[in-house]
């Protein structure tokens, strides 16, 4: 059947036959979304190099928006060309899968990125400094916080317009991540989107020390988890003699075609498979933020500039869950009875852990971080279903959740006092009386997080829990519902705080954003309500897209 099994992957072919290197056969059209985004990122770098400082902002914003929109159009074009269903196949010599889940997730990531870019470009929230409008990012990232160089940079009105190409690079990696069809492509994609994120985390204009600390922690722990992942890849190669997903799956199913002489001693050794599989899994669970690999999440979410946090929380999760789904459904389905119980455990501790610890949080960004951990647990419940409905429910949940998250973090950027964003919850008391619209919008997002009907959160949660229950994970659903109840407490508590508490006299004010952030928030609300009130069309779309190519 498969392309990959007969042709071999690019990597194994090269290893097995060094004397005959075929010219790779690349389907540029099918890879166009990724290529557009990465190309635009390079254009962004060139802009930084050659355009005068004053013109960079507009040029970068233009390039980013156009590139993301064009890439999204390319995804739609591919989907319309049946690449998501009947023409789904493995492209680029077996490295990249072009199929329903890949296209659905790429489309989601691109839309999320597009909206996130709006929040990146916001320049109306901070007061004007020395006659210059400034954004959430440091004037000059390389300058020491509080040092003379920084003061000079601020005075000169520098802004870090590099954030736009950085985002585009990250998006490029994220587009590849869920469609990677061999382990090395997976790893490369992981690094391509992680490195720009590490840098972006360090770029906050305010509280720069906190931001840099977050970036370093994220980098260290990310490198740590990458090491595990890479080691797991090595072990899996030892087991299967290939890093291609389909090749490994064949070996797992007992259909070994070509035994590599050098690996004759290890191939088919189940210990390698189990240990390697667990390690690769761990690398992905780290990105998802599953307990106990979640501990970076609150610190990084809190320290990173809020637009970055929103982008990261939404898009990384989509990409990482896409990769996890492909790994479990394409590579390891034969191992279902081994990984399912383990994933049960992870899902349970993730749901409960995230929800319980969130109860005592006092910072709104940390609160949202723990909430994202709990949501990762809910999505894992859908992953565990191992049914087609499981796939489509996870796809739907990711799309719904990412827009709620983006919107919620965008609202956080608006509530400010003299020290920048006022993220301590006590300062949000009585916000509903002073800024009823902003508080109401935030309440909508919180209700969606809590999974209240008529919001996308309900539709998504219902879909994953239903898939999990149908897939034989009933107890998991019970725990999921209990966690939801606990989670509802702290979401509703914020609503109570906003609407039923006396406003503080030294409370924050709500900045009036430019149309950029306003439209990001408006899109978040619109998607939340549309997916909540009329989810059926999108559920159908997700279930059409829910078949992996192998």
């Amino acid at each position: 059947m498969t392309h990959a099994a007969t042709v071999h992957s690019l990597w194994t072919t090269a290893a097995a036959a060094p004397d005959k290197i075929p010219s790779p056969d690349i389907e540029y059209g099918q890879l166009s979304p990724t290529l557009i985004v990465l190309g635009a990122a390079i254009v962004g770098v060139l802009i930084e190099a050659f355009l005068p400082r004053r013109q960079r902002y507009v040029a970068q914003l233009f390039v980013s928006v156009v590139a993301l929109a064009a890439a999204f159009a390319a995804v739609i074009g591919l989907a319309a060309g049946d690449y998501g269903t009947s023409k789904a196949h493995v492209a680029a010599m077996g490295a990249i899968a072009v199929d329903g889940p890949a296209l659905f997730l790429q489309g989601t990531i691109l839309l999320v990125a597009l909206v996130a870019v709006f929040t990146f470009a916001e320049r109306r929230l901070d007061p004007v400094v020395h006659g210059n409008r400034v954004d959430s990012f440091a004037a000059q990232a390389a300058a020491v916080p509080g040092g003379d160089a920084e003061k000079a940079a601020v005075k000169a009105g520098f802004t870090t317009t590099e954030v736009f190409p950085l985002v585009l690079f990250a998006v490029g990696g994220m587009l590849v991540f869920p469609s990677a069809n061999d382990l090395l492509t997976l790893f490369v994609a992981l690094e391509v989107f992680s490195l720009p994120l590490y840098i972006l985390c360090a770029l906050a204009r305010r509280h720069r020390a906190l931001s840099q600390e977050a970036a370093v922690k994220y980098f260290l722990l990310g490198a740590f988890s990458s090491a595990f992942l890479l080691f797991g890849i090595a072990l899996l190669y030892g087991y299967a003699g290939t890093v291609a997903y389909s090749g490994i799956a064949d070996v797992v199913d007992g259909q070994v075609r070509n035994v590599t002489p050098a690996l004759a001693g290890t191939m088919g050794n189940d210990a390698l498979l189990l240990i390697g599989g667990a390690m690769v899994l761990m690398g992905l669970l780290f990105k998802i933020g599953a307990v106990p690999f979640h501990m970076w999440t609150p610190d990084v979410y809190q320290g990173a500039p809020t637009p970055v946090t929103g982008f990261m929380a939404a898009a990384t999760k989509v990409a990482a869950f896409g990769a996890l789904l492909r790994l479990l459904y394409v590579v390891l389905p034969g191992l279902r009875w081994d990984w399912r119980p383990v994933m049960w455990g992870v899902a349970i501790v993730t749901m409960l852990g995230g929800a319980i610890v969130a109860v005592t949080q006092t910072d709104v960004k940390r609160l949202l971080a723990y909430s994202s951990i709990a949501h990762a647990g809910f999505i894992l419940a859908g992953v565990i279903a191992t049914t087609p409905d499981g796939i489509s429910s996870v796809l739907f949940y990711l799309a719904a959740y990412s827009f709620v998250t983006l919107g919620a973090f965008a609202v956080v950027t608006l509530v400010r006092d003299a020290g920048g964003e006022a993220t301590h919850l006590s300062k949000w008391a009585g916000l509903g009386r002073r800024s009823p619209l902003v508080a109401a919008v935030f309440a909508v997002f919180l209700l969606a997080f809590a999974g209240i009907p008529l919001t996308s959160g309900f539709a998504g949660k219902f879909a994953v829990f239903k898939a999990a229950a149908d897939g034989g994970a009933g107890p998991l659903v019970v725990i999921g519902v209990i966690s939801s109840a606990i989670a509802a407490f702290f979401y509703i508590r914020v609503i109570v705080l906003m609407f039923f508490s006396e406003p503080r006299t030294d409370g924050p004010s709500v900045a009036v954003p430019s149309p950029l952030t306003s439209s990001a928030i408006a899109i978040g609300v619109a998607v939340t309500l549309v997916l909540g009130v009329a989810p059926q069309y999108f559920l159908d779309l997700a279930s059409q897209a829910g078949v992996f190519v192998r």
């Binding site: 899994l281 761990m282 690999f293 009875w337």
Partner: protein
């Protein structure tokens, strides 16, 4: 023609919307808008009636589907209307009498600054009642049913500044809710039994369902009817509802609201015909209520409350007739129509008297009014003669038939029911004569009101007297007209069916008996109130009199039997909720909070701790995976 049916409901509904949302701009002309739209509805009804008469008796029913309301899988609910002879009768009664009451209210509510709102509610009342009788399925009927409940609540409590009115409105609403629960359960049972609640399939398939289910449905429908029609045991709201403005009482008692129960039972005749036990319950309720209401009516000194007792009693007659099955349906509806005329007339007359007497309602402080208010006296008097069943007047024709049908039930049951109906007729004659004598005859017993104004009785304005005259004409002639050639029977028979019972007494004997008891009743009242002067304050009276003044202890009974146990139950539940449920909930919350506080400490900010956690997690992951393979 079908399209006009929807218009019938829409026109008064439009009036309600206009008047209630229109704001102050309409204050000056709101009552005209309301009245004209009610009248327009009557005209539409009349056009449809003329059209219906033009067709053969078996294809007179019209159907009109407006839109599909709730289509969910096998569940279908349409907003669709059905206009057959039964609905037509109600439409003419509701819109006709309703319009007259609108006209009357223009004068009666002249000095009320919320008159526009009042007319809005009246229009809403008409619209809801029309929806109720025009619906082609039980669910839409339920919508109208609830609308009637809402409108009655708003109107009874119209003078909300009086605590008694507010309380009465709430009481009416709550008691009606009990009945509404019955209707909703009946509808659910229907859906599970027949898979639909459209009249036609439900009623034609009624024979095929098990008798147990039909009995259950029938009893629930009866409960609903008891609520709306103020039948024992849900009668207690009717007397208190007199707190509303008098035109409201006329509307509730004559044209809308209380007739809904009779309509429901008659409409659901096929169900009751196939469920004899439910039918027996209907008959029992009717018989008990007709005596209950009559006895209460004897003891009341408040003219409106006396009339309220009489309504209860007359509706009891109708329910009794409806419970008799095909022998009685036609007569139930015929009595309903004639009653609509004379009861509306009596209430409007009572309102006219109150209008003249500074809103005094105590009949012991009336007396001798016939000289001062001749038109009211004559119209009220004709209504009086009609209700007691004076030969030739409306009530005579319809009530006589019911008594006859009760005897025709046969066996001991027939004798008991016939006896009760006869006794009821005697008591009716007694208390109505009493009302008549106390109000219009004898000495003047007027007293100045609280502010010292001596009443100066005068005839009411023509906007009030004309409706009274029209209704009086109906009270006199309607019954006779209906009985010419059995016109009414032939009109309604295709819908309700009709059978002649096997009466042990001849029709003439029944009529003669009725005349005798009527004479006895009138004579007794004359002996007590006509010959002797009437004291201004009521004498203590016998035990029965005192009980009847307290509505035969209905409220005391409800208090002891329902309110008290209910309070104990709620208190118990509140206690359990506080101690047990809240205890568990708060305990859980506290332990989650504590756990959260402790887990939070793990997050200490050191990257090394985080790395250890990841390392440990991976180790566990690997160990668990291997373990899974091993076991």
């Amino acid at each position: 023609m079908e399209n006009l049916i929807g218009l019938l409901v829409a026109v008064p509904l439009l009036g309600a919307a206009l008047l209630l949302c229109g704001g102050r701009r309409l204050d000056g002309k709101g009552h005209y808008i309301g009245t004209v739209l009610a009248g327009a509805s009557f005209v539409i009804g009349a056009v449809l009636f003329a059209d219906m008469l033009g067709r053969g008796e078996h294809d007179r029913a019209l159907h009109s589907k407006v839109f599909s309301w709730i289509p969910v899988g096998g569940f279908r609910a349409d907003v669709a209307f059905q206009l057959d002879q039964l609905s037509m009768t109600f439409v003419l009664l509701i819109t006709g009498v309703g319009t007259l009451i609108h006209i009357y209210s223009i004068g009666y509510m002249e000095h009320d600054e919320r008159r526009r709102r009042f007319f809005g509610y009246l229009n809403l009342f008409l619209a809801a009642m029309l929806l109720l009788v025009l619906a082609d399925n039980y669910l839409l009927l339920y919508v109208g049913w609830e609308g009637v409940g809402l409108a009655s609540y708003l109107l009874i409590g119209f003078w909300q500044h009086k605590p008694s009115a507010a309380t009465a409105a709430k009481k009416a609403f709550i008691v009606n809710r009990v009945g509404d629960v019955g209707l909703s359960i009946a509808i659910m049972l229907m859906f599970t039994t027949f898979g639909t609640f459209t009249f036609a399939p439900v009623l034609t398939n009624a024979d095929h369902a098990s008798e147990g289910k039909l009995t259950a449905i029938g009893l629930m429908l009866l409960l609903a009817a008891c609520g709306k029609s103020a039948q024992v045991p849900l009668q207690s709201w009717l007397g208190d509802a007199m707190e509303g403005p008098t035109p409201v009482s006329a509307l509730i008692h004559a044209a809308t609201m209380v007739t809904a129960g009779v309509y429901l039972i008659t409409r659901s005749g096929a169900i009751f015909n196939a469920a004899p036990d439910a039918q027996a319950a209907v008959v029992a309720v009717g018989a008990v209520t007709l005596l209950f209401g009559a006895i209460v009516g004897c003891a009341k000194d408040d003219i409106k409350k006396a009339l309220a007792g009489s309504t209860m009693s007359q509706i009891g007659y109708m329910i009794l007739a409806a419970g008799l099955g095909p022998i009685g349906y036609v007569f139930a509806i015929m009595h309903l129509v004639t009653h609509g005329f004379f009861k509306a007339g009596l209430f409007l007359g009572a309102g006219s008297v109150m209008h003249a007497m500074n809103d005094e309602v105590d009949m012991r402080k009336y007396g001798g009014l016939r000289k001062y208010m001749p038109v009211t006296f004559i119209t009220f008097g004709l209504g009086y003669l009609a209700i007691i069943g004076f030969p030739g007047l409306s009530g005579f024709w319809s009530k006589d038939k019911i008594i006859e049908a009760a005897f025709a039930k046969g066996g001991t049951e027939g004798w008991i029911l016939g006896g009760a109906a006869l006794l009821g007729a005697a008591i009716t004659a007694y208390y109505m004569t009493r009302v008549m004598l106390l109000t219009f005859f004898g000495e003047k017993r007027w007293v100045p009101d609280e502010e010292g104004h001596e009443p100066h009785p005068h005839e009411s304005p023509s906007s009030m007297t004309i409706p009274m005259i029209v209704l009086a004409v109906g009270s006199v002639f309607a019954g006779g007209l209906f009985s010419v050639n059995d016109a009414f029977l032939k009109w309604l028979e295709p819908v309700t069916g009709h059978s002649h019972g096997d009466s042990p007494l001849s029709a003439a004997a029944v009529t003669a008996g009725t005349m005798v008891v009527l004479a006895i009743g009138v004579a007794l009242a004359w002996a007590q109130y006509g010959r002797r002067p009437v004291p201004r304050t009521a004498p203590r009276g016998s035990l029965l009199t005192r009980a009847a003044r307290r509505d035969l202890l209905q409220d005391d009974f409800n208090h002891v039997a329902l309110v008290k146990p209910g309070q104990y139950l709620t208190r118990g539940l509140v206690y359990v909720d506080h101690k047990l449920v809240d205890g568990v909930v708060n305990g859980t919350a506290a332990s989650v909070g504590g756990l959260s506080g402790r887990l939070r400490k793990l997050q200490n900010g050191y990257a090394r701790t985080y790395a250890v956690s990841m390392f440990g997690g991976t180790a566990v992951l690997i160990a668990a995976t291997l373990l899974m393979r091993a076991v």
